[in-house]
């Protein structure tokens, strides 16, 4: 039970103990022990969201059902009800820090003041482990808990806290997830002097010659998330290989391109030596490879990096032939469209740096489009501005113009509009597309994965989305380590940029516009983003598949999908309807985009997330399942006692079951 009390991160919410995770279908009962502890590593937000939902549900019920009845209801349903746990809350040890397996406490300091920007300063105990910072104060009822994953820390800054007394030191913990908690403490004893040192050491393990926490994390999950993505199976699902495309092992030792995965889908007719020449003509040797093929038209999404055209407009016959082959592989169209994600001016200047873009004169039947998306530095700056707008205080009167001024939504719009154009090219014009930016691992990944999400309903399922991320982002070498800066002290590194956050934001925008088209919910997206930073799981570590193999990520760390797939129902969307063959075209207009308030502004306690209506549906689904069961039971009973008379009349009715929705709520 103590474990379940793991952090309420939100300063306003009472620490309601977690709902006990339902036993998973895999092997109920025996897993109980470890399943119980599943909740602890979930990171703060999961708890936070769950508690909010929980608070809402219980309140919704409580107005109506006397607690006793609710408890009974629980028994009927075998569904854990939060109210049951409410009493437990009081018993919990508030000074005990919930730890995940493998986590250990590094230092504890009492009488530390958390300068909460929302509710004022509060004094309590600060604990630093090798995974998180945990602050608890019993000054308030319920106890105030703040829980920050060290991985989310971008930098530590000492601040002046004169107002809190002499000999007081202050530290501001600037986080990557849109908050900056501040602490103040007296420089009295050893433990307090250690705080900053310990924080620095464990927040930036790589800079301090320590391993990332993911290597210490010892949780065991009933499912293995590393098995989620099997490239061969995924390509097979797409109908590959076929007569035009082959799954090549040419890069199995990462020799052709060290940032690409081992398995690549390339045109069948391309010879190895040709391919190598193409590789030398493309930046970072990122040759054009297939990402997705249209099941009917055979039109393909191909991704690569910029051609090394240079200032002298170099040509590469093999590259030209290669693109010709890609075009020919699709009998439906005699055109090939290249989408260059960059701004045309930037593409032009890249020529001077030996990069560039395809010259339409040299590539026959090729149409080149620039999507005019600014680079990673612009995006980083945009999100930085956004943080200023949303944390800690919000200017009510200037809110909209302040959001406008960050241009964040504008860039979201550009990305979505670009992806829509790509998807439309494939779907309506039936022509294959080649997508690239400079290196083909940032904007390219954003665009191809968004287009695939629009085109292929499989990627809108929980598993499918995991595959999409594993494939387009992780295996194709989006430089997560550089962009996020896992465990790295150098916060000013210009390589950092929130491109993945931006992509997830786009997904969220699509989810808003097509609420029933996605199997996953908002919590799923927020969880992914939190563990993008947390370093708890190995999923987003390192820059390429090659590095991950070298660092033995697959054997020594746990996959995020292990955790997620162990409790899928928390992450699933009750409204989901599988629109199998629908292509989604989100509206890429600022009027129809919204700021993802429940992610960016979630630390503000005045921002209560919207009442989750879907809980109503979950309740109904649950109720239906119960009633179905009951009808069946009764019918069985009736037919056994009345087998002569009335059985035939009723045997047909219990056929309700088998909805593909998640009745296991």
């Amino acid at each position: 039970m103590e474990k379940q009390s793991s952090g309420s991160d939100s300063p306003v919410l009472p620490a309601i103990p977690n709902r006990k995770p339902r036993t998973l279908g895999v092997n109920p009962g025996s897993r109980q022990e470890s399943v119980d502890s599943l909740d602890s590593p979930t990171g703060s937000h999961v708890e936070w969201c769950k508690q909010l939902i929980a608070a809402t549900i219980s309140s919704q019920i409580s107005g109506v059902v006397p607690p006793e009845a609710a408890a009974r209801e629980c028994k009927v349903s075998r569904r854990p009800n939060l109210r049951v746990f409410r009493d437990v809350q009081k018993q919990m040890q508030t000074d005990e820090v919930p730890l995940v397996p493998g986590e250990s406490v590094r230092t504890t300091a009492k009488d530390v003041m958390y300068i909460c920007p929302f509710t004022g300063a509060v004094t309590g105990t600060l604990t630093v482990t090798d995974y998180k910072l945990y602050f608890v104060s019993v000054e308030r009822d319920p106890p105030f808990v703040l829980d920050v994953n060290l991985g989310a820390i971008s930098r530590l800054e000492t601040i002046s806290v004169q107002s809190h007394g002499e000999n007081t030191q202050g530290v501001e913990i600037v986080c990557k997830d849109m908050r900056s908690p501040r602490f103040a403490y007296k420089m009295e004893d050893q433990s307090k002097q250690e705080i900053v040192g310990m924080l620095t050491k464990y927040a930036f393990p790589l800079s301090n010659d320590l391993p990332l926490f993911a290597y210490q994390y010892k949780e065991e999950y009933p499912v293995d998330g590393w098995k989620v993505y099997d490239p061969v199976a995924e390509y097979k699902r797409q109908g590959l290989p076929n007569e035009s495309w082959t799954i090549s092992k040419i890069n199995s030792n990462y020799e052709v391109c060290d940032t690409y995965p081992a398995l690549l889908v390339i045109p069948t007719s391309i010879q190895e030596d040709e391919l190598k020449r193409v590789a030398s003509f493309r930046a970072k040797h990122r040759i054009p490879v297939l990402s997705w093929i249209h099941p009917e038209t055979q039109a393909t999404i191909v991704r690569c990096s910029q051609p090394l055209v240079g200032p002298s407009d170099r040509r590469c016959k093999e590259d030209e032939r290669y693109l010709q082959t890609i075009m020919d592989a699709n009998a439906q169209s005699h055109k090939l469209t290249i989408f260059d994600a960059r701004q045309s001016t930037v593409a032009e200047t890249n020529k001077a740096k030996d990069g560039g873009y395809e010259n339409e004169n040299f590539y026959s039947n090729v149409e080149l489009n620039f999507l005019e998306i600014p680079n990673i530095h612009v995006m980083r700056e945009s999100l930085r501005k956004m943080k200023e707008v949303v944390y800690p205080t919000i200017d009510e009167m200037r809110w909209h113009s302040a959001i406008d001024a960050t241009h964040w939504l504008e860039y979201i719009r550009l990305l979505l509009a670009g992806a829509v154009r790509i998807a439309d090219k494939l779907e309506s014009s039936k022509s294959s597309v080649v997508v690239h930016c400079s290196d083909g691992w940032d904007r390219t990944a954003q665009l191809t994965s968004l287009a695939m999400l629009m085109l292929d309903s499989h990627y809108r399922t929980l598993r499918g989305f995991q595959v999409l991320l594993e494939k387009e982002w992780i295996s194709f070498g989006h430089k997560f380590a550089s962009r996020v800066g896992h465990g790295d002290e150098n916060h000013a590194n210009s390589e950092r940029s929130p491109l993945f956050v931006q992509f997830i934001d786009c997904v969220w925008q699509m989810m808003r516009q097509f609420p029933s088209a996605f199997e996953f919910n908002e919590l799923f997206l927020i969880t992914i983003l939190d563990h993008l930073y947390s370093c708890l799981f190995g999923t987003f570590l390192y820059n390429s598949e090659k590095e991950r193999v070298e660092k033995e990520v697959y054997s020594k760390t746990v996959s995020l999908w292990s955790y997620i797939n162990s409790q899928l129902e928390d992450f699933s969307n009750p409204f989901y309807v599988d629109y199998e063959n629908h292509v989604l075209y989100p509206l890429a207009s600022l009027r129809h985009l919204e700021l993802w308030v429940s992610y960016y502004v979630r630390w503000n306690p005045r921002m209560r997330p919207q009442m989750p209506v879907h809980q109503n549906l979950k309740e109904l689904l649950f109720l239906r399942a119960e009633l179905q069961k009951r009808v069946e039971e009764l019918q069985r009973e009736v037919s056994s006692s009345h087998s002569l008379s009335s059985s035939s009349e009723h045997t047909s009715s219990p056929s309700h079951g088998g909805t593909p929705l998640h009745t296991t709520v």
Binding site: Q60, V76, A517, Y579, E580, E619
Partner: protein, 806 residues
């Protein structure tokens, strides 16, 4: 295809227009109301039609295009989808079909040709054949019709002309012909006079109605006064008003002169914790206060309470002119206009939105109402809303307070009663504010629409606490723009009565509270010729009405009757300093007790007052009140979100932070043309999934009941042992679950009907699980909601051009 060029050879098909028109006229006299597939109202005649037209469906309607026939009558522009079922002649007339728009709601007609767009006015001439016809409506809808290649050119031109000529950009005087076209026929009049009123809602038309409200809220110490029965005391007040029991009518009569327009403090609502909400106009200052008057004025203002807080809504709230300006800007921003060259660039959308101040005003109203709600929560005081005229912001705030605090107001019936009470009867000047006659441009201000937006904000933040839905609010929003409803066609009850030529008889017994004629009788003198807006069946098909309420809603607290005795844990005297009659002013979030707040207490005239009250109210009690306001968490984050939910009487306090006050996109942005371009899978399900589930749960429950009956009696013992089951059953019977079964049964009924007539509504461009539903109840178990589509790949028809600018 949006502006795709027509092929060069056009099918020239001369349609004998005149003949058609004659046909249509003769049709009027025929028994059937159907004309070319259009179900006409009695007396309605088709002026023009165009065949093979496609209507662009909004995202909510499922997107894509729907082909059918476009009509223009004297009253509306109608669109009948191709394969819609034959209209049933015996069915009650519905003013507007699902795809129709009343001529009076049309604001602008724009014809789109191959190379240009043109605003078509009654006098303009078209030099090209329109390929597309865009109707901009007052209710912020934009209807877009595409003429097919096969649409005869003459029809395309003619119908554009006809619509442009008949839609009547409203001028003084044109309203009547429109109303006549809609409701003028004898059959229609007869039909309307036989309509029964919704008995579930309170109309606040007779004393009994008010008494019912007093009883519902548990208010004691108040009575219904009919002193204004002939509008002699105040022309703009309703006939019946609730005043303190202690004040006799003869005494009451003297108080009217002390208030602007005679709008004395009147009781609106009692909070379960025993506070009363009052509203009044500003004081008349230039009047001598006699000693007796003062006693009565004090009584009227304080009701039975010791403390009174006057909430000044005059200064800090937006003025009607502000609201009008903001709304005009918002319209221009949201609607866009393809005929105008200047459009707001997309990347400035949020800043421009902020510049309209519409959301600021929404926030302002919500904040004020939340403050009042928190004050009332404190218990045992009167809160009197004061506005110079008591006819605009008082309506907004008093009704918002009730939406926040009274769960009953969040049901459709309760909400309608609320609007009836605080707007229609209280004399909000609908006619001038909506400016139907185009003769009160200076007065025009969509105050009511601002209120609807505020309610939408609350609904958006607490959807589960409302029984009504966003669709309902939208329907009400749209109805405001149709000048046919008695509710909106007058500025006060007196005008409404006059219009119906049924001023009350010269004599009404003083105590004749229940002497009114029975409601719904055809000769009911209070029955106006115009239907009330609440007669939704006149406007909306039953399927669309079904969406007005949530399928799953919390049972509304069944006994809202609390007699004001809810435990408050508050010392009733905590903010009084022992002196009865302390009065405070709440203005700009702070309390004060200015000596001249009540004119009869202030210097000049207070000699007589001072004699009876030695002590002036001290300011010691201010902190108590301020604490109340603070508690409403407008300035502080909620300390415990849990407790806020537990008590059904806790007000729904809106979050007013920047990101929390949002644009009512379903309303303001539904006209944005590009928004309609793509298909939306979700909406191809005609019924909301929750509704369908609710339906199914109900079926299961019925089945369960069935089986339980069949179950042999001797199994009863075994049932005892199955405790969980018994509980479940019990729960089902007691309806402790999330929704009321009667509601689900209705739903069920509606859905059965819907399946029986696969009407225009259920027509979707692509077969979906929903439409594949069989009408057989027992067969639809697993297919109806979540079935897989087995057809080929579906691609939404994308006719709009892709956003080119990136």
């Amino acid at each position: 295809m949006l502006t795709g060029s027509k092929t060069t050879f056009k099918v020239r098909q001369m349609v004998p227009d005149i003949k058609e028109r004659m046909l249509s006229h003769s049709g009027v006299h025929a028994r059937g109301r159907e004309m070319f597939g259009l179900c006409c109202l009695p007396g309605e005649c088709v002026l023009q039609r165009a065949v093979l037209v496609r209507k662009k469906l909004s995202a909510r309607e499922g997107g894509g295009w729907l082909s059918g026939t476009l009509f223009c009558t004297h009253f509306r522009v109608a669109f009948v989808p191709q394969d819609s079922p034959k209209p049933d002649d015996n069915a009650d007339p519905v003013l507007l079909g699902d795809h129709d728009v009343a001529l009076a709601s049309i604001e602008k007609v724009v014809a789109v040709g191959p190379s240009r767009t043109k605003l078509v006015t009654p006098n303009s001439s078209l030099k090209f054949t329109p390929e597309e016809l865009v109707l901009y409506c007052r209710d912020l809808r934009v209807l877009c019709f595409l003429f097919d290649r096969l649409t005869p050119d003459t029809q395309a031109i003619e119908i554009t002309y006809t619509i442009a000529k008949t839609y009547q950009p409203l001028k003084p005087g044109t309203l009547f012909s429109f109303q006549n076209a809609a409701l003028g026929s004898i059959e229609m009049k007869q039909f309307l006079s036989n309509r029964r009123r919704d008995p579930n809602m309170n109309w606040f038309e007779c004393p009994a109605d008010w008494e019912q409200e007093l009883e519902r809220t548990g208010a004691t110490g108040w009575r219904v006064s009919s002193v204004n029965d002939r509008f002699e005391m105040s022309t703009s007040l309703s006939r019946f008003n609730v005043v303190p029991q202690k004040v006799l009518d003869t005494e009451l009569k003297k108080t009217f002169a002390h208030f602007n327009e005679g709008r004395i403090p009147r009781w609106c609502w009692r909070h379960p914790r025993g506070s009363d909400l009052l509203r009044m106009a500003s004081f008349q200052n230039n009047i001598y206060h006699e000693k007796d008057d003062i006693r009565n004025l004090e009584l009227v203002l304080f009701g039975g309470q010791q403390v009174c807080v006057v909430v000044d809504l005059g200064e800090e709230m937006p003025s009607p002119a502000d609201i009008q300006l903001a709304h005009t800007r918002l319209r221009a921003l949201c609607l866009g206009d393809i005929s105008a060259s200047v459009t707001v660039p997309d990347d400035k959308w949020l800043s421009t939105l902020e510049g309209t101040h519409w959301l600021d005003y929404t926030r302002c109203c919500l904040r004020k109402a939340a403050e009042v709600a928190c004050l009332l929560r404190g218990g045992h005081l009167t809160v009197a809303l004061q506005e110079p005229e008591d006819r605009d912001m008082n309506c907004v705030v008093s009704s918002l307070v009730q939406v926040m605090c009274d769960p009953h107001s969040r049901t459709v019936a309760g909400f309608q009663s609320l609007v009836q009470k605080e707007w229609v009867m209280a004399g909000h000047r609908f006619l001038s504010r909506i400016n139907y006659h185009r003769d009160s441009d200076k007065e025009e201000a969509p105050v009511f629409l601002l209120f609807l937006d505020c309610v939408w904000q609350l609904w958006d933040q607490y959807p589960g606490r409302f029984q009504l839905t966003g669709d309902y609010l939208l329907a009400l929003h749209d109805s405001v723009h149709i000048p046919l409803f008695s509710s909106f066609l007058a500025n006060c009850q007196r005008e409404r009565c006059r219009r119906s030529q049924h001023l009350p008889q010269s004599y009404t017994p003083i105590n004749g509270l229940r002497e009114m004629l029975p409601r719904g009788a055809s000769d009911d003198p209070t029955d106006p010729p115009f239907p009330p807006v609440w007669d939704w069946a006149l406007q909306y098909s039953s399927q669309r009405q079904a969406r007005f309420t949530q399928p799953v809603s919390q049972p509304i607290c069944s006994q809202p009757l609390l007699n004001g005795n809810l435990n408050t844990n508050l010392d009733p005297n905590q903010y009084g300093d022992g002196v009865p009659g302390s009065v405070f002013l709440l203005s700009r979030g702070t309390f004060s007790s200015p000596s001249n707040l009540l004119p009869w207490r202030s210097a000049g005239s207070s000699a007589s007052y001072r004699k009876s009250h030695r002590r002036a109210p001290s300011s010691e009690s201010l902190p108590g009140l301020e604490r109340l306001i603070k508690a409403c968490s407008l300035t502080e984050p909620p300390q415990n979100t849990n407790t806020a939910f537990h008590d059904p009487h806790e007000p729904l306090l809106p979050l007013l932070l920047g990101p929390c006050v949002r644009v009512w996109k379903d309303c303001y942005l539904r006209g944005a043309l590009h928004a309609q371009a793509f298909s939306h899978p979700m909406s191809s399900i005609t019924q909301h999934p929750v509704e369908q589930l609710a339906c199914e749960v109900q079926q299961l429950r019925e089945k369960l009941a069935q089986v339980s009956i069949v179950r042999p009696a001797n199994a009863a013992k075994r049932q005892e042992s199955h405790r969980p089951e018994a509980n479940l059953n019990q729960n089902a019977n007691n309806e402790t679950f999330l929704f009321a079964s009667s509601r689900a049964a209705q739903q069920h009924h509606a859905s059965n009907r819907a399946t029986a007539h696969p009407s225009a509504l259920t027509k979707t461009p692509h077969p979906t699980p929903a439409t594949s539903r069989s009408s057989n109840r027992d067969n639809n178990k697993h297919t109806f909601l979540f079935g897989h589509q087995s057809e080929g790949r579906h691609v939404p028809t994308r006719n709009a051009k892709l956003p080119k600018n990136n």
